[in-house]
């Protein structure tokens, strides 16, 4: 079974290859097959698969990955836009 594809060209995921030490942790924690390892460096192979969950950024030892994480959820975004505190998300 395949992964679902959501709206393309929007992810905020970024990888700084200079910092990457090729440990491969991002490949392990990413639930959506975003990375591959090539020549001891991580590469973003399937950028549109990213769901901005933050797992890779939190666990990358040299912090080579950055992503603006958040819940992809209509209600939370509406609450945020309205500046409501009890963000049900």
């Amino acid at each position: 079974m395949a992964l679902f594809h959501y709206i393309p060209d929007v992810t905020t995921l970024e990888l700084n290859q200079e910092l990457c030490i090729g440990c491969g942790i991002c490949l392990v924690v990413c639930p959506h097959d975003v990375f591959v390892l090539k020549d001891k460096k991580a590469l973003i192979a399937n950028k549109d698969n990213c769901m901005e969950c933050n797992a890779c950024a939190v666990n990358c030892p040299p912090r080579a990955i950055s992503v603006e994480s958040g819940e992809g959820c209509v209600r939370s975004i509406i609450n945020e836009l309205l500046g409501r505190e009890c963000d049900c998300c």
Binding site: V58, E68, E71, C89
Partner: protein
């Protein structure tokens, strides 16, 4: 039309009278209640209960009388009493006398009923409580209190402020605050509901009907019992209803039965009681309440008869000694106090609920109970199984001292025994789920009882593990815990349960409750270091967004190994030296998972759409030559059907047919689902080719509304999916919402046009 209006006016009038008469007394009751809260803390009560079989029951029943807590609020209080060593009888007595009467309800009884009832009510509550408690203790001799739980850390203050003893003045302000915010917050919604219901009874129910059935005698009381036991209503709100009953000719004794039984029991609290006291004690509890209430009711009728007083005549007499101006002032004050609570209440009705999948969830909102409890108009039970039960909702649980080891209770509904270890007895679970586990999961999926579907955090043994056995980390959402253990038959492992406030791993990781800090604390406080000789923990990969594996290793010495996404792959993972295939690292979103999400989405969407159904009914009835009823029945049902179809399209068709509906954006998928459903609806209701211009306009209206609503609910499913990113959702929203709004506005205008101008 005419009659409808006059009904509404009559109801409003009756309700307003009741409100005016009771306001001043309610405020008085709240003030005293607030003071009681600070000066008569439950810890104090527990300390003074004593150990005797009779004395403790007597005192518990007595203490319960003035405390203004409803039958939900009293549960955590009683649980805490029990933890502090009170015997079953005393706990039972407290559980009965507290909700049946309180200073607030006593004073409102004085306002709306008469002096006899004002005395009879707390007195009967006391007797009921005492009898139930004593019979409990006589039948099951209380064991000498064994281990008394460590100090529960309940403080008089609502917040964890300064540790010094607060001054009396401070206490009073705290009490007042508590009265206005907490007590009234719990009661406001129900109180207005009660007033309204009483108004409806007074205005609509024909007099002779009630008097015939409930005019007195034992049969009236029995009917009232049947009505009152499952009903949930608090003591304060039940009073205006009782007043309306009496005015309609119900005998005062029968009304008393309602006043006693209504608040003391309801279906949900009974199920919690079974957990707290056991089945036999719960049956005994019900029996004593029923029998004593009926006897009290008969006695009260006897008193009225022998004194030859008519209860009907004396109802509401107290109001007349109050000057009108004071009554009005109090009423406005009360309304002012209520506005924030009512707004909260209304908000709560429209609030998104927890979806099993994730994210947008009131699950997390409800977990904010530990910060500020929402006005619990529908009871949200605090978790009574938690090691630290709190009496008043605001009291906070004490965090673990550094170095202190916390072991979860060995006896929980799902544990099967205990295991001796170096740090004490650890609860043991098996991989077999019982019928009870399954029923809980089923209910939770439908959003019932979700918040007390919780496992105490800490260390558990699965099977018969030893110092070399692997350690699996999971969330304390009972369903996550059950899925995990049931996929590990024949394994011997340690399960480390984190406190994620009853939310599953994936969602909790997103929110940060399944996070580095909690994992760190739990490793320390569970005593894991002493239990296992290795230094390795298996954390589900889906927890990675919240857990910094390196930080854990650095600070605890435990190496984090990322386990598979799905629990069913864990046996493979364990047997293959912690290796996994790439497939097992993927978070897929299969049909079964989407199917499981449907109920929650459906229930929530239906709740959101309900007010609109009513609106359409109302609008259907107005105008035209037909009477209100006829016209409402002419247009209302189709409107309901159409809205139901749009909800079904967005919350059933979209999730189930997700991969096959065209479009990437969920709003697009919702749109297509809406088109198909609208087509089906028109086809099967024979409206595909409308005959008149009016019908054409109406069908166009519904096509627009159905697709817009379906698109909206489809888009809402982003909160439950496992693959939508925030940036993507944002982009889709900004495109879809304007279109959806436009479609609804145009559609609604068309509908109005068709309804009123053709």
């Amino acid at each position: 039309m005419e009659t409808l209006l006059s009904f509404i006016v009559a109801i409003a009038n009756e309700s307003w009278q009741l409100l005016k008469e009771s306001s001043i007394y309610i405020i008085f009751g709240l003030l005293v209640g607030g003071l009681l809260k600070v000066f008569l803390s439950p810890t104090y009560v527990a300390k003074h209960l004593g150990k005797g079989r009779f004395m403790s029951v007597f005192k518990a029943a007595l203490f319960g009388i003035p405390i203004p807590l409803c039958s939900c609020g009293v549960l955590p209080a009683a649980a805490s009493l029990k933890k502090q060593g009170a015997n079953n009888g005393a706990t039972t007595a407290f559980l009965i006398s507290t909700p049946e009467s309180g200073v607030d309800s006593i004073s409102i009884t004085w306002a709306l009923l008469d002096p006899i009832m004002t005395v009879a009510r707390p007195l009967s509550a006391f007797i009921t409580a005492f009898v139930a408690g004593i019979s409990e203790n006589l039948i099951h001799r209380p064991k000498p209190p064994g281990l008394i739980m460590a100090d529960t850390g309940i403080s008089d203050d609502t917040c964890c402020e300064d540790k010094e003893r607060p001054s009396t003045l401070r206490k009073i302000t705290t009490g007042m605050n508590y009265a206005a915010k907490e007590i009234w917050g719990d009661l406001a919604g129900w109180f207005f509901f009660g007033i309204l219901l009483a108004g409806i009874i007074s205005a609509l129910v024909p007099d002779d009907m009630i008097a015939h059935w409930l005019g007195g005698g034992i049969s009236s009381m029995l009917i009232m019992l049947l009505f009152g036991i499952p009903l949930y209503i608090c003591a304060t709100a039940s009073t205006p209803i009782a007043a309306a009953f009496i005015l309609k000719g119900v005998s005062p004794g029968t009304a008393l039965v309602f006043l006693l039984v209504g608040p003391a029991t309801n279906i949900t609290s009974l199920s919690v009681l079974i957990g707290l006291l056991g089945k036999r004690a719960t049956v005994l509890y019900l029996l004593s309440i029923s029998i004593v209430s009926v006897i009290c009711g008969l006695l009260v009728d006897l008193i009225y008869n022998s004194l030859e007083i008519s209860a009907q005549a004396s109802v509401g007499q107290a109001g007349e000694i109050m000057p009108e101006i004071a009554e009005l002032g109090a009423t406005f004050l009360l309304i002012a106090l209520s506005i924030p609570h009512l707004v909260q209440w209304a908000k709560k009705c429209f609030r998104p609920t927890d979806s099993a999948g994730c994210e947008c969830s009131s699950g997390s909102c409800s977990t904010e109970t530990d910060k500020a409890p929402p006005p619990s108009t529908s009871c949200s039970y605090p978790d009574i199984t938690a090691p630290v039960a709190t009496l008043f909702p605001m009291a906070q649980s004490a965090p673990a001292e550094p170095g202190e080891i916390i072991i979860p209770a060995v006896k929980q509904s799902f544990t099967s025994g205990s295991m001796k270890t170096v740090i004490g007895s650890i609860p043991v679970v098996t991989s077999d789920l019982t019928a009870r586990d399954r029923r809980g999961s089923f209910l939770a999926r439908w959003n019932i009882g979700r918040m007390h579907f919780i496992v105490e955090p800490g260390l558990y043994a699965l099977g018969n593990p030893d110092t070399e056995s692997p350690v699996l980390v999971t969330a304390n959402y009972k369903m996550s815990f059950d899925v995990l253990r049931s996929s590990l038959p024949g394994k011997n492992l340690w399960l480390l349960v984190l406190d994620t406030k009853g939310i599953n791993v994936w969602c909790a990781a997103g929110k940060g409750t399944f996070g580095t800090e909690e994992l760190y604390d739990r490793i320390r406080s569970s005593g894991l270091e002493k239990i296992v000789s290795h230094r390795r923990i298996i954390v589900p990969q889906l927890g990675a967004p919240g857990v910094d594996g390196l930080a854990i290793q650095k600070h605890t010495g435990f190496h984090v190994v990322w386990g598979p996404v799905s629990a069913s792959d864990i046996p493979y993972f364990l047997d293959n030296k912690y290796q996994l295939t790439a497939e097992m690292r993927r978070k897929l979103f299969p049909f079964s998972e989407r199917l499981a999400l449907v109920p929650v989405e459906l229930v929530q969407a239906s709740r959101n759409i309900l007010p609109f159904v009513l609106l359409f009914f109302l609008l259907s009835g107005l105008g035209g030559e037909l009477s209100f009823r006829q016209a409402a029945l002419e247009f209302g049902p189709f409107a309901t059907l159409a809205l139901a179809c749009s909800v079904a399209a967005g919350t059933i068709i979209v999730p189930l047919l997700l991969p096959w509906i065209p479009g990437r954006a969920l709003s697009t998928k919702g749109f297509w689902a809406g088109i198909i459903t609208a087509y089906g609806l028109f086809f099967f209701s024979g409206r595909l080719t409308p005959s008149t211009g009016a019908k054409w306009t109406e069908m166009t209206a519904w096509l627009l509304i159905i697709t817009a609503v379906s698109s909206w609910f489809g888009m809402n499913f982003t909160g439950a999916t496992t693959y939508t990113s925030r940036s993507g959702t944002r982009k889709e929203m900004f495109r879809a919402i304007p279109l959806q709004c436009a479609a609804v506005v145009i559609g609604f205008s068309c509908w109005l046009f068709a309804r009123f101008y053709f």
